[in-house]
């Protein structure tokens, strides 16, 4: 006879089973396929060579990994991608913090409207938004004329805004800003005014109140936002493809090239795996730092 506990356990599986199955089929299995592909030999005309060679032996090797280590240009692109993602994250943080603070402190009836404005860009297509930047940054647009007019005033030559690292970074920040604003807002909105009153009462000026109370208490929001910006920014390829110059090839572009143009699937898999591992270890690192700092908010004895 099935007990109530058994029934409850079965109920849990009914609820959590489908999403679990979905993740298994569309995330875990492809990841395993990719890991397997990274050890295989590229096919003569792209794709993968047969798993067993003519003698019937398994054809698994480390050649693609060795290539990644040997040809430092890939590691350099990798480091550059991390750099772009870091700059993007930092710029988003600096822009999003005041914005999230403003929304969190505005009267309750306006907050939903302001949040809606933050996520409004998502209503138009991602690629269209990137192409819009081509127009904004284009050589004949008002922005370029003003900037180059100012440069000419100081005797400097005209600079192209489009197809540059500048264009890539501006668009990276633009696309990812909402992902920083939302978790920061969710955190800042919960802050108690009484804590700031107490800090002020105890002698803290505005800067000290921010730096010693508001900012440390907002760290969980900062970490969440940083992860939401950093990880997608690290793997992005569409923005450098469309807005970047020849030197703005990032790891995402390399992976796309390996699969779609060079058709070297094993090497593309290696790059993907390195990217995933790098993103995961950075996220783990951030979580580890976060635990140390925000430990106060967690019940230790629980």
């Amino acid at each position: 006879m099935a007990s109530r506990a058994d029934e409850q356990r079965a109920g849990k599986w009914w609820v959590s089973g489908p999403p679990l199955l979905y993740l298994l089929v569309f995330f875990a299995v492809p990841t395993l396929i990719m890991v397997l592909a990274s050890f295989r030999t590229p096919g003569e005309f792209g794709g993968l060579a047969p798993l067993r060679d003519e003698s019937g032996a398994l054809d698994l090797n480390l050649e693609s990994y060795q290539r990644f280590v040997a040809e430092t240009v890939y590691a350099q692109v990798f480091v550059k991608s991390v750099g772009y993602a870091l700059v993007t994250t930092l710029a988003c943080l600096l822009l999003a913090y005041p914005l999230a603070t403003l929304i969190a402190r505005s009267p309750k009836k306006y907050r939903d409207l302001l949040l809606l404005l933050v996520i409004l860009p998502f209503w138009s297509n991602f690629l269209i938004r990137i192409y819009a930047w081509m127009i904004i940054l284009g050589p004949n647009a008002a922005l370029a004329r003003v900037v180059n007019g100012a440069f000419a005033w100081f005797g400097a030559g005209p600079v192209p805004l489009l197809f540059s690292s500048f264009a890539v970074l501006v668009c990276l920040v633009y696309v990812h800003l909402p992902f920083m604003v939302l978790p920061l807002y969710a955190n800042l909105e919960k802050h108690e005014q009484a804590l700031l009153d107490a800090a002020q009462d105890l002698g803290a000026n505005a800067w000290q109140r921010f730096w010693r109370i508001t900012f440390p208490l907002s760290l969980p929001g900062v970490y969440a936002g940083a992860a939401l910006v950093f990880i997608p920014a690290l793997g992005i390829f569409a923005i450098p493809d469309i807005l970047g110059g020849p030197n703005d090839t990032l790891i995402g572009n390399l992976i796309k090239q390996q699969f779609l143009e060079t058709r070297d699937w094993p090497f593309g898999s290696v790059l993907s795996i390195v990217l995933t591992v790098a993103a995961l270890s950075l996220a783990a690192f951030a979580a580890w730092i976060g635990r140390g700092r925000a430990g106060a908010e967690r019940p230790v004895r629980a």
Binding site: E192, A194, L195, D197, A198, A199, Q200, D201, L202, G203, A204, N205, Q208, R212, I213, P216, L217, R293, A294, A296, E297, P299, V300, R301
Partner: protein, 362 residues
């Protein structure tokens, strides 16, 4: 000159006058309480002393110096908030060290001062804990230690015991008295709890609708309320109102509907004219309740027990007179073996001497 002077302070929020032309002088070393129902302006007044709010009119002087231009962080005044407002990301040590850091205390002196402050609130060894690991009473003590560690001139306490249970509250009341005495710091205490105010304070300002109704020692506030509001708000009170029939020889006679002529001894008799309105405030513990008898005396009325509340140490009787007026009388259950003397429906006499009541002119 008083330490803290509040001169003609008014604060309006739109059409609502929260604090209405209040003047108070609070002395150094005093335990001063602002007592009143919610919305009476006591917390607004406290926030203006702390600097979180500014008066629309009037001045607040500390040691003779106008505080108007000083922001809260620059005032030698500390507040203990009702919610404690401990910083959740700092340990107890970190919380108490916070005002020391803000005051640029040399780092070498901080641990000693923090430890001493914890000692003062009887929490030695709790320094490494976080606020969420403390009970309500412990949080309260840390908040007080944090506020006192820099030896402020004035400590403001905003309903600090409201969140504690009754037993702990009583314990903390005794400790607050001790702390105030030891620290020698002026306490300005805000509460709506009249027993707390009576137990703790040197002086109480009873506030109502933004005004101070009475400023006095606890025993005077309780025994000689100046207005109907004070009599009603502080403790339980029978309020017997009516026109004054006669006033002479330090005795006023009031015509009370349902009772008839009631005598009350008062020094106000000479200033009171017949026909004016008046109220006799009569504490239940001053009303005698006894079995009905025919012995006629002054202020002696027949009635029946309509309700009784057995409270353990005392029993509260409500006695209805023939005309329907209810008089509350309180009887101590101190007699051995007798928990209660009368039952609901018993015919009883209630009586009080002329000097038991307190006359309030209207």
């Amino acid at each position: 000159m008083a330490l803290l002077e509040i001169q003609g302070v008014t604060r309006r929020f739109g059409d609502f006058t929260a604090v209405d032309d209040v003047s108070l002088a609070i002395e150094a070393g005093e335990f001063f309480t602002l007592l009143g129902p919610s919305g009476c302006g006591k917390t607004t007044l406290l926030r203006m002393i702390a600097g979180f709010d500014l008066p629309d009119a009037g001045r607040i002087l500390l040691n003779g110096e106008d505080l108007a231009d000083k922001p809260p962080e620059a005032r030698p005044v500390r507040t203990v908030f009702q919610s404690y407002a401990l910083f959740p990301h700092m340990t107890v040590d970190g919380n108490i060290a916070f005002p020391l850091h803000m005051a640029k205390t040399p780092d070498a002196e901080i641990p000693g001062k923090v430890a001493a402050a914890l000692e003062d609130v009887r929490l030695p060894g709790f320094g490494k804990r976080y606020p969420h690991e403390l009970s309500g009473g412990q949080k309260q003590r840390v908040a007080i230690a944090r506020a006192l560690v820099t030896h402020p001139t004035v400590l403001l306490l905003d309903e600090p015991l409201a969140a504690l249970d009754a037993k702990l509250r009583e314990e903390m009341q005794l400790e607050l008295i001790g702390m105030q005495k030891d620290a020698g710091i002026t306490f300005v205490y805000v509460t709506h709890d009249q027993t707390e105010a009576l137990a703790l304070s040197h002086r109480i300002a009873v506030m109502n609708r933004g005004k101070v109704e009475q400023l006095d020692e606890p025993s005077k506030i309780y025994g000689f309320p100046r207005t109907r509001f004070v009599a009603d708000f502080i403790g339980h009170c029978n309020l017997l109102s009516g026109p004054v029939r006669s006033a002479a020889n330090r005795v006023v006679v009031v015509d009370v509907a349902g009772l008839g002529a009631v005598e009350v001894a008062t020094p106000l008799a000479d200033a009171t004219r017949a026909g004016a309105g008046g109220t006799i405030a009569l504490r239940p513990e001053k009303v005698r309740i006894e079995a009905a008898s025919d012995a006629a005396r002054g202020n002696h009325y027949r009635g029946t027990v309509s309700e009784l509340l057995y409270m353990g140490d005392v029993t509260v009787y409500r006695v209805a007179t023939a005309a329907g007026l209810r008089i509350e009388a309180l009887l101590a259950n101190s007699k051995a073996g007798r928990a209660q003397f009368f039952e609901v429906g018993d015919a009883v006499d209630v009586a009080w001497s002329a000097d038991a009541g307190h006359f309030i002119a209207e």
